[in-house]
Symmetry: C2
Subunit: 507 residues, 2 copies
């Protein structure tokens, strides 16, 4: 998705805006990042007009926790978007999840609201679908989109299809009122999301209202879809068609900002919530370029993301940064743009990237790679130390679930959870971006690098206060049976009796 | 290396020039192709000012045959740069090779000479080192460089070190007179090659002489080296240092052409003779981006190459082409630039790329992937059919020689030579650039694609007249014991008695 934040900024006391694109795409999916079909002219142009981040990360190898991290500026292990049902398990917010974003968490739109912003989310929310988790209860003023992923149960009335909301109420359901043709891959949802974005921007521009737009589209998430006009237009099949439509939409949004004369007051950021889902390849999965494995893993393919910052007249065109960045930084950076300070009563993991983008600074900071309740790895400079390795279990792998298709690095892409906390596996990501050649434990380089890393990890662990885990309990009774507004549409379904259970997270 | 060809072109009847860079680098080694450290600003700029070829191939996964193909416009199986000692074996020109380029082959500089060109080769020749194979006997007017690779025997007087020639005579040997520090990786050879190129260009410009410069540098070939000023400057270690120095040199050459006022009369092409040598990774090996395996293999990583065409004022800036191209096309394209026709008495495999570069045309043509005497695979459009699969033998693999480190695709990266001639393995390189997901044999798509491919392969095989294989016989007696000029330097060594044997080609 994209979020636009408009504000009286510190630099320019006029109407301004900014944004982040947020969706499931891999590091290697853009032409500017070396995708061989090079079919993203608008995103490549966005990079040419803005700044390319080559070392930018998401906060988790899965969607919901990354989105919670983006909006809270905090690691999922702090904001509660993780599970303790088992060790180092990925978890998200399917329809039967009981938990969601807590009132105690301060979300970016809540804070921006105090500075006069109008905030809109378009697309997938994913921070819980029960009434108390509704985005309009957490700072957003408007919503067009869905609380959960658009997959399953695919028009099976035994279980509810995912509702699509406008603001407080549902206006239909996927597969019923919002069609996705699973056979052809046709769906016009990206066009709907695009029109919503253009209209919202026009409205805010007309009223001189600072705004934050979070454009959280999901066409590249399986089941992948594209509008009719884009079907069959890519070298890359349906996935490429979806990428082309997103690329085209981004171009239209940026041109719209330019035509309205607010591009120089608009900060836009494009990035993704996790690496490409290689389990969906080749038909519905993207590319992580030269990196190891994909979504669900803490290897580079799972968490290193395409990232572009765009702010004409402020961010120098054609810039390239090796700043270690994270989606959580967009929280802090957005506050900074709005002239606000991040909350001081809690640990914030995001940093302000404005000095990086405007003055070319490099800020020293680590990247933590979590899987559920476990810190699997850490990156410091060009070194990455794995404290635990795991792709998935032998059992899941045996069923055909492969997070690293065609890739296998002995002792690294392991199918048992392997602990290396006493002697971490160390990689140099400059010489070895694919994490194939661990450094020798006996080398001077290993000793030197680990000395620094050990201190950083120690400090992180010593001061970590984990949040109450939100992704432990599932209950069919709380699925989207009867969302608000269902009566008007005659779309209320009868919920079964409550039967809360521990959610099963196999990965 | 680079070659510059200057000529009275068809378009501009004034002094002109053009060129090709030729060296061992992988598809993914340039920033413009998605290398994560993005340390090739000059090559990226060259691409921005010229045309990027994303689907460009070399003629062989190994050096000598690719270089013979570049200069003859013909597949190695036609020009003799292959072996029949065993099935589907890579072969090149080590010091004890008896064969070399035949007089019956017409080389690009021989043909250009008739049109008044002055031709120079700087760097590695690699088409045989015996007197009859000398580049000045095959059309070149000047030479600074070596007949063989700069590896081994590393100053062991039991075997001769590789000589460095100026024109007809050797002027020293590697490791003796031309130092390469194997411990630090320091060598100033790229600087010597750069100065030679700049001087040659200046001289030709001053005399208004059309010229062809073949700049065949080898700093990224193990043992990788860089000049002192570049050592330690890359995120990627010594390999990256070498890439930076090459990038810097290319920039200096292009700027030199501009400063002399001949850039608009100069066609320059950058490409490589084989994919990155992953056996040398991570310290001395490059990157093949998202592609499978590397040098020595007929997977994309072994033969798909970075490629940039540059000709300011003619080739539109920022162009991108999906034309299936091959190094052999540079033969035909160069002749076309010089207003010459390719020889009509033999099969030429290269095509003229000028319509592609100047008018944006796409020309239908297949790419054949040979390993020695065997056509392993063919690409037609976005489909690639493997008729044989092999990485290397279990025996070599067991010794630690891995052409696909960290990669393993069941039934594809095989360690026995597997024949699929009756039912080729088919990949769609758009959806699956990494060759991980063969199409189902039963699918309609397979049937449709193979119908077309089968006809093309049949026609190719039916009309193929293999050349006399040049890489079958090895003899220690013909090593560089006493190259011309050795007497003056006191560097003649005594050759052993002749003992010709079948060369051993394990891969």
């Amino acid at each position: 998705g994209i979020c636009y934040v408009g504000s009286e900024t510190l630099w320019q006391r006029t109407f301004t805006s900014f944004g982040v694109l947020f969706l499931q795409m891999g590091w290697g999916d853009l032409g500017a990042f070396g995708e061989p079909s090079k079919e993203t002219p608008n995103l490549d142009q966005m990079a040419a007009e803005g700044m390319l981040f080559l070392d930018f990360y998401t906060a988790n190898p899965l969607c919901s926790p990354s989105r919670a991290a983006l909006l809270t500026g905090r690691l999922p292990v702090r904001n509660g978007f993780y599970t303790t049902n088992a060790h180092a398990r990925n978890a998200y917010t399917p329809q039967d999840i009981v938990g969601g974003i807590q009132d105690s968490e301060l979300l970016l739109p809540e804070l921006l609201k105090k500075a006069g912003y109008i905030n809109k989310i378009i697309g997938k929310w994913h921070l819980g679908h029960r009434p108390q988790f509704h985005p309009l209860k957490h700072g957003f003023d408007e919503w067009f989109g869905s609380p959960n992923c658009h997959f399953g149960p695919y028009d099976n009335r035994e279980l509810p299809n995912i509702p699509v909301y406008r603001d407080w109420e549902m206006i239909g359901r996927y597969y019923e009122d919002f069609k996705i043709d699973l056979k052809t891959g046709e769906a016009n949802l990206t066009q709907l999301y695009l029109q919503e974005a253009l209209d919202f921007i026009s409205k805010q521009q007309a009223s001189q209202q600072p705004f934050f737009l979070y454009w959280a589209i999901d066409a590249t998430h399986a089941p992948v879809y594209a509008s009719k006009q884009f079907l069959g237009t890519s070298q890359r099949g349906l996935y490429g068609d979806a990428v082309r439509e997103i690329d085209d939409s981004v171009g239209k949004i940026l041109r719209h900002l330019q035509q309205l004369g607010i591009s120089e007051n608009t900060f836009v950021f494009f990035t993704s919530d996790n690496g490409a889902a290689l389990i969906s390849a080749p038909k519905q999965g993207g590319s992580n370029g030269p990196f190891l494995c994909g979504k669900q893993t803490t290897f580079e393919g799972g968490m290193r993301e395409p990232a572009i910052a765009w702010w004409p007249g402020h961010i120098p065109a054609g810039g390239v940064s090796h700043q270690l960045g994270n989606v959580m930084d967009l929280f802090t950076t957005s506050l900074s743009l709005a002239g606000l300070q991040p909350p001081s009563d809690r640990q914030i993991d995001g940093i302000d990237l404005l000095p990086v983008m405007l003055q070319g600074k490099l800020i020293d900071r680590p990247i933590f790679y979590y899987r559920g309740n476990e810190m699997m790895a850490v990156r410091v400079g060009l070194y990455k130390a794995h404290y635990w390795t795991w792709s998935n279990s032998w059992e899941e792998y045996g069923k055909g679930t492969d997070f690293c298709p065609g890739q296998s690095v002995s002792g690294v892409t392991t199918h048992t959870q392997e602990e290396h906390t006493y002697l971490p596996l160390l990689f140099h990501l400059g010489r070895d971006p694919g994490e194939k050649f661990p450094l020798s434990f006996a080398s001077e380089e290993y000793q030197r690098a680990m000395q620094q890393i050990t201190g950083i990890v120690q400090q992180h662990k010593d001061t970590l206060v984990p949040g109450e885990p939100q992704l432990n309990v599932c209950d069919k009774a709380i699925m989207n049976w009867s969302p608000p507004g269902c009566e008007k549409l005659g779309k209320c379904l009868k919920a079964p009796e409550s039967d809360p259970k521990k959610c099963s997270w196999p990965h």
